[in-house]
Symmetry: C2
Subunit: 287 residues, 2 copies
Amino acid sequence: MYGGIEAGGTKFIFAVCDDNMNIIERRSIPTTTPDETFKEVFKLFDKYDLKAIGIGSFGPIDVNKQSNTYGYIKSTPKLIWKNTDFLGVFKKRYDIPIGWTTDVNIAALAEYKLGTAKGKDSCVYITVGTGIGGGSIINGKFLGGINHPEMGHFYPPRHGKDNYKGICDYHEDCLEGLASGPAIEARFGKSAKELNQDHEAWDIQAHYLAHAALTYTTILRPDCIIFGGGVMNQNHLLDKIHNKFENILSDYLEISSIKDYILSTGLGNDSGIIGSLLLAKETYSEY
Amino acid sequence: MYGGIEAGGTKFIFAVCDDNMNIIERRSIPTTTPDETFKEVFKLFDKYDLKAIGIGSFGPIDVNKQSNTYGYIKSTPKLIWKNTDFLGVFKKRYDIPIGWTTDVNIAALAEYKLGTAKGKDSCVYITVGTGIGGGSIINGKFLGGINHPEMGHFYPPRHGKDNYKGICDYHEDCLEGLASGPAIEARFGKSAKELNQDHEAWDIQAHYLAHAALTYTTILRPDCIIFGGGVMNQNHLLDKIHNKFENILSDYLEISSIKDYILSTGLGNDSGIIGSLLLAKETYSEY
């Protein structure tokens, strides 16, 4: 049996699966305080004889094994979780191997092993929702140097008709500040799902997300890029991103089919929890 | 003995060194046709009993070992070199291990092993000259998915006072199109070295290069970023990049000292040829 946790800032999803990745039991609860939330996870995990646990957490988190705060949630805007020793609490309770990475990395792992990126050499997974974040698997490993990427916080070039100042607390008009769900709502007074397909919002949105895809492409050269998250539930958006990407790529790099390169998720909202269980299994086999 | 080639679009530098990396003989010639240029390299390499060769080439090149054109120079603007089977020619002549990667990757390798990035876990090397390109070592390997990065070809946000359309043949106002040596010259009518330290060019240049550094930071989280290339010979520029980077990073990610994070080269113009010899040695020991 393996335990997995997809720890989001809004909700915690956690589950237990068998050796064949069949989910035996699964729960989803609102994220309250660390103590309260962890207690609910313990209740489930304590019922089983787990071999390993996989955790994918909201962040920023510390994934640098040389660091004193390895396993912590760091300077998150969710202040009650700031400086929480997430991994430490679980290591103390369960004397088994525990895998620890970001929420977007476990989603990337699930898509890479079982989803849209199955059979590809490498992938980037980007979620466009309350925030924008990305995870990547390159050379069979989660990408990152001294710590994990924050792929939503570089500054894209402005869309010519967009004067919105941006909503990011740190950067104003970084990618997250211009193209996350809250940015759309603040700019147009309506949420993504309330905006008609022919609203100018979508041209602006496609501009920023195509530039995100091109930026990841030029820096990482992955085998594919997968867009997930709530804002991507508008099906027409992916087509618009394809068109805009083709336009700005300008035949520079060999990409045989843009439709097979920029993809939607294969596992939908389950990529996180499935990825956390895959991480548990991988952590066990590497142990 | 090891042989190394830093194959640039303007000149080829090649050398032979002993086991301790002492350079025994070194030459630099203008890059003419593939046949003529290779013949000069053969003349040097044939004199020694080489154990391995390392090649860092201008590109785009094919570094995907599964590809039919692995080892080729691809769609380069230098048309006489387009679709040249560079690695194949050397494999045919020398039956020894040959390492093959980009010119910026070998510079990154040299800085990582012996230069400014020595002792760091990971690094990005970016050259700002006739073009802009970057190489990176993450998790001890050259970064790349299905092929090598082209780190100069994403689109940065515009500097508020810069209306120059950009010089890149493919993208116009990508990073290379706005911040390479030829872009500076086309915009201001003077080359980088002719422009006074207080010219507005440097504020614009620092803006684009700081955004490049931030983009690499958010996507890769390397341990350091090294700027090399002709345009960086203006010493005041690195300070301006530090200031601008601090401003746009906006305390978001933990970087203890920006001056120790964004660095100039430790090996200067020698990073390429030294890196090619290091690549030869590594290729031999992995063989």
